[in-house]
Symmetry: C2
Subunit: 298 residues, 2 copies
Amino acid sequence: MTTTPLRTAVVIGCGTTGTSVALALTAAGVEVALIDEDPRAIAEAVALGAGTAWTAQRPPADLVVVATPPSEVVDALYGAQSRGLGYVYTDTAGTKEIVSAEAELRGCDLKGYLPGHPLAGPDDIGRDAASGDRFTGRPWVLCPYETTPDWALETVATLVELCGAYRLDLAPHVHDRIVAELSHGPHLVAAALSTRFADSSAAFLGLAEQGLKDAVRTAGGDPWLWSDVLAHNAGPVADVLDRIADQLAQAAAILREGDASAPLELALTLGEGRRGQAALDLAGDLRTTRDAHVGDRV
Amino acid sequence: MTTTPLRTAVVIGCGTTGTSVALALTAAGVEVALIDEDPRAIAEAVALGAGTAWTAQRPPADLVVVATPPSEVVDALYGAQSRGLGYVYTDTAGTKEIVSAEAELRGCDLKGYLPGHPLAGPDDIGRDAASGDRFTGRPWVLCPYETTPDWALETVATLVELCGAYRLDLAPHVHDRIVAELSHGPHLVAAALSTRFADSSAAFLGLAEQGLKDAVRTAGGDPWLWSDVLAHNAGPVADVLDRIADQLAQAAAILREGDASAPLELALTLGEGRRGQAALDLAGDLRTTRDAHVGDRV
């Protein structure tokens, strides 16, 4: 493995993820230029110390990071490659199969593009939440094409390293199933749960316990960004939602039947839920178990 | 309103709720005697300073608190009244309509019994979580019968006050609908969400973000206690589960159809979910709005 230079970077999209990447790279001594269709977003990121606004006079950067919502990645990538903004390109979108396939169909230069996704919390809490520490100790998924050359892999691996994350290579469809189970499906469940409270009285809501507030917190995410993510991972997310809908409908049927066995039947589901909760709570950082085959036993 | 003496109490059931009530009363100078079918539970509560083990030589107490799971309340109440353990009785079960009706059918002395429910977190985290502060600032629902005399109301109101809670009178069916929406339904949703992770690999679970762990935390509750509670509030809980199941199945159908309008349709649900999440997060303590009619606008 050669020492890969990463001295200059362009970040396209100054949301929470893009600004956080820019802050981490700037802190690591990389010269970062920022692009966003909203000049205020650039100004705010610059004010946070994330870099400077990109200008057309710049030479190609060592790395271009496309940090837009999933549906805008391929357009942004194609445009950036056409304008020669850099040598190596990656993205940070939360879905990977459609993005990878569309980049190929669109005719992007795949030798210079490596799809990626830092798993560092939903990009839903505004630019104020941007932080150079956002990726520290977290997994950063890379989805190399079969044809991805080592020089591109090494540059993006350096990005991951400078952000304090650890690299996890996955096939795009495996990535998408994993995030459907751990993030996208649960997000829609939280949203469904909390729609009920949109027009409730303060007197009623004041009776809620902390556990419910915690359970629906993720539903506070940006609806437009999330609907874009969910629509880009439609099949795996629909599978998760149908499974949970079936479980809830089955529990409702048991309750309505009112057989004497109802508590026993419900306790089986609740017991399995408790096992799952305990497993999830105990699960440490993947770094301790990264030799395990994530994709094999999702 | 007269000054009601509450100098002696019996607590039946030394779980988290019963032990916490006993601790609060003991701290307030009430002499508390403890009953539980499990002698170890009594010993542990005594060791925490919750009172002393009940003995048959005692005179009737000012108040008897039945702190068992819902399905055991009426038996425990009937038995305690038959043995003349006290003058006034209440319970702390998380469902009220069946408990209230069964107490009447069973022939309990309704003049001396006032059904109640402190809304202070699920009783699922073990006796270690027992605390005299458990009810501080929280609502404590009372469901008086039409025939409940003032002297019984005043004794139980004193209990609520000594526990640092505030009294909220509700009809039993209104109470049950409220807790179905705010607690029982969401509990089963969390359990359904987390069953998926019962047998997952540590490598997979290590990719989960904090938001998911928070969303399913409540699923860690005791399956037997919760199945008892849910079966005792079957209709209202089934309504909540069916509604959420329909929402999830509808979202799954939108995703599978894959129309260009899918992101827009999903964003409508997500937007309503965000409004609900924000409303829930902002909802303060009912004490600030307790003049509002909780039951009218559930």
